[in-house]
């Protein structure tokens, strides 16, 4: 069995910051595992700016922010990086099983930091009736298709929800030559940052329907249109306000949910509503020596906050290792 003091699962901004911080706080034998073939996580697909104003005092793009940390990690020999490595099992005694090309690895570190981020909430979470045609994407998936794969998911887009990823993608679709026909938000105001409403929506004169909901998605093979109606203060449809918007693509941008299935598998207490660990202290779980940081601990608006949170987790893990010696 491989021997490491600390294993970190996830090589996005959280995992990288935790690794650097743990090292700087005295942990010299760290393994960082990442399922993708690059470090950086979701930052790599966030090609827009707005990252790093807090941490680096510079307005960076996602890939630039990721690169700063990737360079730091590469310069530290005490941090071993294992790419294309997918954690599949975690036990209460911190035995972690992961797959990497050609082998199944089992490791039992003295401490573990989970930096597994979030996944996107889907159409199923918000219960939109209708058919199940092609052309319905979560906003982050569309972002990956456009910014990493170079594929444009559609030409006429309706975005459900006004979360930041949806707003960012509204602009991205317009820049790539698609038409964003509407953003439909059930609340009376945007859920995204005010700056994104300005630079992603108002700049391109994209119509936003606040206090509206999508009643139904229509289409046989491909999305054809959505039915929309105004809602009252209790989110109920107001009779007579229904109208249709034709489109070939629907983006769902209704928030994120932390991924904590591995620690749940290990028996850690999880808040069923938020899917985050239940603990008395920030970054801790009910299993001593298992820490959670970044968006898998709490959904943050800004990567700078993820970095700060994860540096704390790295330090906590270092303190734990020092005390358990």
């Amino acid at each position: 069995m491989i021997k490491k003091d600390l294993v970190i699962v996830g090589g996005g901004p959280a995992g990288m910051a935790a690794a650097v911080s743990a090292y700087e706080n005295g942990v010299k034998n760290i393994l960082l595992i990442e399922r993708d073939q690059y470090l950086g996580g979701i930052l790599n697909q966030c090609v827009h700016t707005g990252f790093g104003l807090g941490y680096f005092k510079e307005n960076l793009t996602g890939p630039e922010y990721a690169d700063r940390f990737t360079q730091k990690i590469k310069a530290i020999p005490g941090i071993e990086v294992s790419l294309r490595s997918f954690a599949v099992k975690l036990a209460k005694d911190k035995t972690l099983t992961y797959l990497r090309p050609g082998s199944l690895e089992v490791i039992r570190p003295k401490a573990l930091i989970m930096a597994t981020g979030c996944r996107e909430k889907t159409r199923e979470v918000i219960h939109i009736p209708g058919t199940r045609p092609a052309g319905i994407f979560s906003a982050g998936l569309a972002q990956k298709l456009i910014n990493i794969e170079g594929l444009l998911p559609g030409k006429e887009v309706v975005i459900i929800g006004s979360g930041d990823i949806g707003l960012i993608m509204a602009r991205r679709f317009v820049l790539e030559g698609a038409k964003v026909k509407a953003i439909i938000e059930i609340e009376g105001k945007s859920r995204g940052l005010a700056r994104n409403m300005v630079q992603c929506v108002e700049d391109f004169e994209i119509p936003v329907y606040f206090s509206h909901r999508v009643l139904k998605i229509h289409g046989k093979d491909r999305v054809e249109k959505v039915s929309v109606a105004k809602v009252d203060g209790s989110m109920n449809e107001i009779a007579g306000t229904e109208f249709d918007i034709s489109c070939d693509t629907v983006l769902v941008s209704v928030g994120l949910i932390p991924e904590n299935e591995l620690i749940e598998m290990a028996g850690a207490a999880i808040d069923k509503k938020t899917n985050s660990p239940v603990s008395k202290e920030v970054n801790k779980t009910s299993i001593p020596g298992v820490f959670v940081c970044g968006n898998s601990f709490k959904v943050y608006d800004l990567v700078d906050s993820v970095t700060a949170d994860s540096e704390l987790a790295g330090k906590q893990a270092a303190i734990y290792l020092r005390n358990s010696r």
Binding site: V47, N59, A194, R195
Partner: protein
């Protein structure tokens, strides 16, 4: 005349009350930092934005190279700039900060890579 606008310089999104007289900004209120007043002046006279996008690569490890302008460009030129950016094909490895277009649309602004992409 007082015009309200949201400052987009940082995620705080300060709501600015901008007093404009004879097309000139005379007073800016509501900004939590000095960037707000400068933003209000720029936004009133010639709105500028940093443009980010991707360019196509050929024969490199990734299909796309993410790019940005090294300085803000006029908002009105964004879609025209995208037409230029779409024409680009890069076939040599790039490092973060490498210049992809020396002078975008003659605006005196560089388009630079934001990710290192190898062969």
């Amino acid at each position: 005349m007082i015009k309200n606008m949201v400052c987009i310089e940082c995620p705080k999104g300060c709501v600015l009350a901008v007093d404009i007289e004879n097309d000139k900004v005379v007073k800016v209120q509501g900004a939590k930092c000095p960037k707000g007043a400068a933003y209000a002046v720029m936004e009133t006279h010639d709105p500028m934005r940093v443009l980010t996008a991707t360019v196509v690569s050929e024969g490199l490890e990734l299909r796309l190279i993410p790019v940005r302008t090294n300085k803000p460009i006029p908002k009105k030129d964004i879609l025209r700039a995208m037409e230029e950016i779409r024409k680009i094909k890069v076939n040599a490895p790039v490092k973060v900060g490498d210049i992809i277009i020396k002078d975008l649309l003659g605006l005196g602004v560089k388009l630079v890579a934001t990710r290192s992409v190898a062969l």
